[in-house]
């Protein structure tokens, strides 16, 4: 009887200990989980939905190879913010409040990213910024100071883009007019571009005008740039607004070369401006180019995408190669997930501090948009050498087709 009582007590203690024991996930034996918020719906869903698709392909690729450290991976939380900062903040709170999430892929666009990045920094989990271009997302104290410890980025940071755009226009034009959207992306992009133009040509842009996203008429801005005598217009903005700008330029008889940041040549520009887009040039990641077969991981991604999703809006019109913009949407999501999981592998598990520290040990690691090498000072995947100049030219069907610029 006494022995029976002792057994019961021992069993109870064993049960209590078992209940108090860490779960399989916390011990590092469950799946490795990614949390993501992005514009899955809404007018800018080419960004967020593209990233989500890239993440899914990256996870399938890793899982097919046996996972990371023998563990399978999954996109455990995927939330829609429609590129609205308030929603991105709510979503990020949900992601960070979920202890089972191991690594985080943030929203697209500078506005939503700036709204969540401090939360993510304080939380400390490894975080990838897929598209936000404002430098303070990665470098809060300036690009000459160390980056946030837990943040890496696949975006074309504004200073990197400004260098490429500035170099291109400063050597070709004397009177440079600039227009930019009134978001963090547009404002910081325009300021950095102005600095770069001044550094290279010793002159300031002759006009700098801002506009609100989704403005339906930009007569005033175009007229001011035109009056300043600009012989080129450089726009830091997104595709739908670019269509309005292009149409406004032609209505005003302001038919000077139009050059834009990478966001400006997204599909809505081609759709909205039609054949009027011909002649427009832009800097963009040069991973995918019409008529040029991608190689390495970029080809793997393109093949996997075609097999899983087919040739759709994100793929583009060319049956042989994804459109140029693919690198900034699907490619960004794929690279973010692949690099974060590599950090988990290097860390030997999902311990937050170790994964964050392991980001600095990623070296010459091949992803679709280049080879990642990170240090406390260097956290950008996309460097100036990854960018090329592209131009819309007249296609066989009299439509606008994006090609690598010839000069």
């Amino acid at each position: 009887m006494k022995h029976g009582k002792l057994s019961l007590v021992a069993a109870s203690i064993a049960l209590a200990l078992a209940a108090a024991a860490p779960t399989a996930d916390a011990q590092g034996t469950g799946t490795i989980k990614i949390g993501n918020t992005g514009a899955l719906t809404g007018p800018y869903n080419e960004f967020g939905e593209g990233v989500r698709r890239g993440i899914l392909i990256a996870l399938e690729r890793v899982n097919a190879r046996g996972g990371i450290l023998g563990r399978q991976t999954e996109l455990a939380i995927s939330l829609d913010d429609q590129l609205v900062p308030d929603r991105a903040v709510q979503n990020m709170r949900r992601i960070l409040d979920a202890p089972e999430i191991d690594v985080v892929i943030g929203p697209g666009g500078s506005g939503p990213t700036l709204a969540v990045i401090d939360m993510a920094t304080v939380d400390g989990r490894a975080y990838c910024n897929p598209q936000g271009q404002t430098p303070s997302i990665v470098y809060p104290d300036g690009t000459d100071k160390p980056a946030r410890k837990n943040v890496i980025s696949t975006a074309i940071q504004n200073d990197v883009e400004a260098k490429a755009l500035g170099t291109y226009v400063a050597s070709r034009f004397k009177k440079i007019g600039v227009m930019h959207e009134s978001t963090g992306y547009g404002v910081s992009g325009s300021q950095l571009l102005g600095v770069e133009i001044e550094r290279l040509s010793k002159t300031k842009p002759v006009a700098v005008e801002s506009y609100n996203q989704r403005s339906q008429d930009m007569t005033a801005q175009i007229s001011r740039v035109q009056r300043a005598g600009a012989d080129v217009l450089v726009v830091v903005g997104l595709g739908a607004d670019m269509a309005v700008i292009r149409r406004n330029m032609l209505r005003a008889g302001f038919d000077v070369p139009l050059i834009t940041s990478g966001g400006g040549i997204s599909l809505p520009y081609k759709e909205g401006a039609g054949e009027l887009a011909v002649g427009t040039r832009a800097t963009m990641i040069s991973t995918y180019q019409p008529g040029k077969t991608p190689t390495g991981v970029a080809k793997e991604l393109a093949d996997a995408y075609q097999a899983k999703f087919g040739r759709d809006r994100w793929w583009g019109d060319d049956p042989a190669t994804p459109q140029v913009f693919f690198s900034l949407t699907v490619g960004a999501g794929f690279d973010c997930a692949t690099m974060l999981l590599e950090a988990v592998r290097l860390a030997g598990g999902t311990d937050r501090a170790k994964v964050t520290e392991a980001l600095n040990r990623i070296s010459n690691f091949p992803v679709s948009n280049g080879a990642a090498t990170f240090t406390p000072m260097r956290r950008l995947l996309v460097q100036p050498e990854n960018l090329g100049m592209f131009e819309y030219v007249k296609g066989d069907k009299n439509d606008a087709v994006l090609k690598a610029a010839t000069q």
Partner: protein
């Protein structure tokens, strides 16, 4: 000179669109003392419908007509669903919420079933490259066409009000619906007609703006509705010529401020004008003070 001219012309064109929206708001205000705040979404619906009809092989002009007719019908339904039940409660302002609700529903409906991505909208009145040269000043053919259409619609509406039986009936309902009913005027049908007309005006404004921007999406039209409302207040709610004047005045002031002061101030000036108008001349520039018998 050409700088000022381009600003003024751009302002007249944009203002003409505000005027059409203001005219539509006026029309329902005349008959029911309510404003349809779903008007912006009706603009969107007309443009999206035109694109979709053209996409399935319809002639573009048939598509445009189809889109405009559709929003006329939707406007009439809005009156039945969102305004008439609320208007039965004397003094209720619930129609503000219900008409906004209809607009948001239409946005959601289009986003759900046709996507929220921007759809390309073709140019149907000239191309962005077409222009007329007048005294050395380049005038965009698309801008001129919008102004001419808006002016023609305002004149047609004035003639309709003053020269037709239905127009006079509409004025009678505006003055005193109970007395109009006693006099044998079919008040319900007149009210319904005013909503159809208001929807058609929103549809025309929608397709005209869409060809200027080149794209249309589910969120299209809401900002324009607000500016159309400002134009209606500036011109005097209920006044046809006031709608045109208010719209063009607002458009030109916006562009001149944008051109000569700051483009950042362009949006804000509309609301500054609204506040001044409500404080100084609430019946608008061309409106008449409303006298209430006590």
């Amino acid at each position: 000179m050409s700088f000022a001219a381009s600003l003024i012309l751009g302002g007249i064109s944009v203002g003409s669109v505000y005027a059409l929206i203001a005219l539509g708001l006026n029309l329902t205000f005349l008959t029911t003392r309510t404003l349809n705040f779903g008007q912006g979404s009706l603009m969107m619906l007309a443009a999206v419908s035109a694109v979709l009809l053209a996409g399935i092989g319809a002639n573009l002009y048939v598509g445009l007509l189809g889109g405009i007719v559709l929003v006329g019908v939707v406007a009439a339904l809005t009156e039945s669903i969102a305004i008439r039940p609320i208007a039965k409660v004397g003094g209720s302002m619930g129609w503000v919420v219900t008409t906004l609700g209809v607009g948001i529903f239409l946005q959601g409906f289009v986003a759900k079933f046709f996507g929220s991505q921007a759809l390309a909208f073709p140019s149907f009145l000239f191309s962005a490259r077409d222009f007329v040269s007048l005294g050395g000043v380049r005038l965009s053919a698309q801008y001129l066409a919008i102004f001419v259409i808006a002016l023609a619609l305002v004149i047609a509406f004035e003639l309709f009000l003053k020269r037709t039986a239905w127009g006079r009936a509409l004025q009678a309902v505006a003055l005193d619906p109970d007395l109009a009913s006693v006099m044998g005027i079919p008040v319900r049908r007149v009210v319904m007609l005013s909503f159809v007309g208001s929807g058609v005006l929103a549809g025309v404004a929608g397709v005209l703006v869409a060809q200027i921007t080149g794209t249309v999406d589910a969120a299209f039209g809401f900002n324009l509705l607000i500016l159309g409302f400002v134009a209606a207040v500036l011109g005097g709610i209920g006044n046809t010529w006031g709608a045109l004047f208010g719209g063009v005045f607002l458009g030109v002031i916006e562009k001149l401020v944008g051109g000569y002061v700051s483009t950042a101030a362009e949006q804000g000036i509309a609301f500054a004008l609204l506040m001044v108008a409500l404080a100084v001349r609430p019946h608008g520039l061309l409106g008449e003070k409303e006298v209430v018998k006590v």
